[in-house]
Symmetry: C2
Subunit: 361 residues, 2 copies
Amino acid sequence: MRIGLFGYGTIGKGVYTLVDGLKKSYDVEVVKVFDLPIKREMLGDKLVCDIEDIVNDKNIDLVVEVLGGHDLPYEVITKSLRSGKSVITANKEVVSNHLEEFINLAHENNVSFCFEASAGGGIPLIRPLIDNVKVNDVNNIFGILNGTTNYILTKMDEDDLSFDEALGLAKINGFAEANPTADLEGLDIVRKINILSSIAFKGNISNDAIYHYPISGVNKDILNNIKELGYALKYVASSKRDGDDVIIRVEPTMVKFNHPFASIKNEFNAVLYTGSTNGDLMFYGKGAGSIPTATAIVSDIVSVIEGRAYIGYSNLRKLNVNNGIKNDYKYYIVNDKLEGEFKENVSDKELLSAKFYARVL
Amino acid sequence: MRIGLFGYGTIGKGVYTLVDGLKKSYDVEVVKVFDLPIKREMLGDKLVCDIEDIVNDKNIDLVVEVLGGHDLPYEVITKSLRSGKSVITANKEVVSNHLEEFINLAHENNVSFCFEASAGGGIPLIRPLIDNVKVNDVNNIFGILNGTTNYILTKMDEDDLSFDEALGLAKINGFAEANPTADLEGLDIVRKINILSSIAFKGNISNDAIYHYPISGVNKDILNNIKELGYALKYVASSKRDGDDVIIRVEPTMVKFNHPFASIKNEFNAVLYTGSTNGDLMFYGKGAGSIPTATAIVSDIVSVIEGRAYIGYSNLRKLNVNNGIKNDYKYYIVNDKLEGEFKENVSDKELLSAKFYARVL
């Protein structure tokens, strides 16, 4: 298996190193790496700076895309699939926007498209879910899907830090990016819950339609009030299918201390879903970090080598995101005096006018 | 895919029903069922009462074994693999005793051997673990692997029942067998942790060498004392590799309330292991029940149909079970007056002479 690697940042380097470790068991090699010319010193002759040098190379069987961003990865993935190469990506932005197109292109060209690392980092999550929906229906998903914000909430709680202090610590320890807006406002989670919901419900969902409320409005006082009520605060994505409708929301969420999510700490992620025949399942592991993410990519590489990377369905149906209050969820709504009250049948307008709110699970 | 099903009890019936549901997506059918003559009324012409009628049937591609017991299942599995049929089993007794032989026979005959349902019931656990150890090392495993005893401990704690009352309730609700000895003494867990350890460590382990201490010595007073100390009591299997040595123990175990295992309630199971590159992973779901178990079997059926049931290694090395006190585990030891104390570097002899004890995680 001759691999063309797009991107030699922290994840790309991790993939490169882990593929080296695979050589004792498999005939596999990274033969070309696309990145900027400044990487020449590290990569020597393997470096290419034109994507066509990989996507048009008939000796390359498999492309791994860890560039980040949207436009260039989209071009790399579609061109590679069309030229008969299997593709593995960790790119949640591109996958959440174009999953159906990629699955169809892979089917048409008789190659594989894998994206285990695009949600849940190092947790083996997407392949078991793909397998699971072949044998039973999955109609709801809950996820703690963002390592940065879960780390912040943990540090605020356990080390009595303010939101900003915890965010600073997350940056120092490599769990938050310089610009963490996509994490704090829930956009990162929107993309991940979209990917998981698309697989589970075999449907197509627009990122733009997914409701998300920022976690950054929380402060120590609110967190303490919530704790005194017997709850832990988590930043949770929830997704529920009802026929061709889905209700997908990314919201601060209160869980009882004995709920499985209460013990998910620091940069860990967890996904809980219910199968119609096998019941509640939860998967837990490191949701961020270059080596766990690279491990998920290398696991995809092995599944392509062994011919196991089979999705088994290509056409996704259109699902309508229901953004109204057609839910019976319970909320804890905090006013400007930091007084909170539990309420049901609340409109999004009312939620958005609160100082802060959390859904109650 | 023409299937021969061995055993038409509750799990067998579940498999039969779920395979019917697969027909809309796959060309698959249960063509013969082996069981006792009294099942004739239910099964009609599909019933066979001689195993040779299935293992010698050249039109059958795949055998599903859910008989229970040891001798007959062993004969069915080996004969089926030798005659070129793939085999799926839920039988932890047979798998834990003969895993290497079955994997080798499957390789030699170019067929698949699958056993997802043999540990962890409906949790997708074994296939992700097989995949995971292809890309990184796993050197320790912790598991809550028995639904019956976890149900009993939950009911004692939450509903203030005695051990015997909780056991009675488990029987009424179908979570305990008429003779629950294998569950209460830890033998059931021994087999499951053996299977998981064999895969994770790519080694061969004898069931007989695995230390197990019964859970049945616990009572309400001990449970309350443990709770007051800030711990939940769980019946946990632990397995740790050190080179060619393994320390495997099945023991009552105390976990802090914020440990992920503390929230595993009722008949649920959970397995926690650490990958060398992707870190701690936990899988959680229903560990018992006919339909969750049947779902795991049907998931194996789909993986055989799609050609994804590939283990990828056949020769297991011999691992020595270390049963001594060469561990630095911490224990809580209860005397006859129900007074407990925490101790380290304790010999098994001292543990066995206590009124009751629990390992402290």
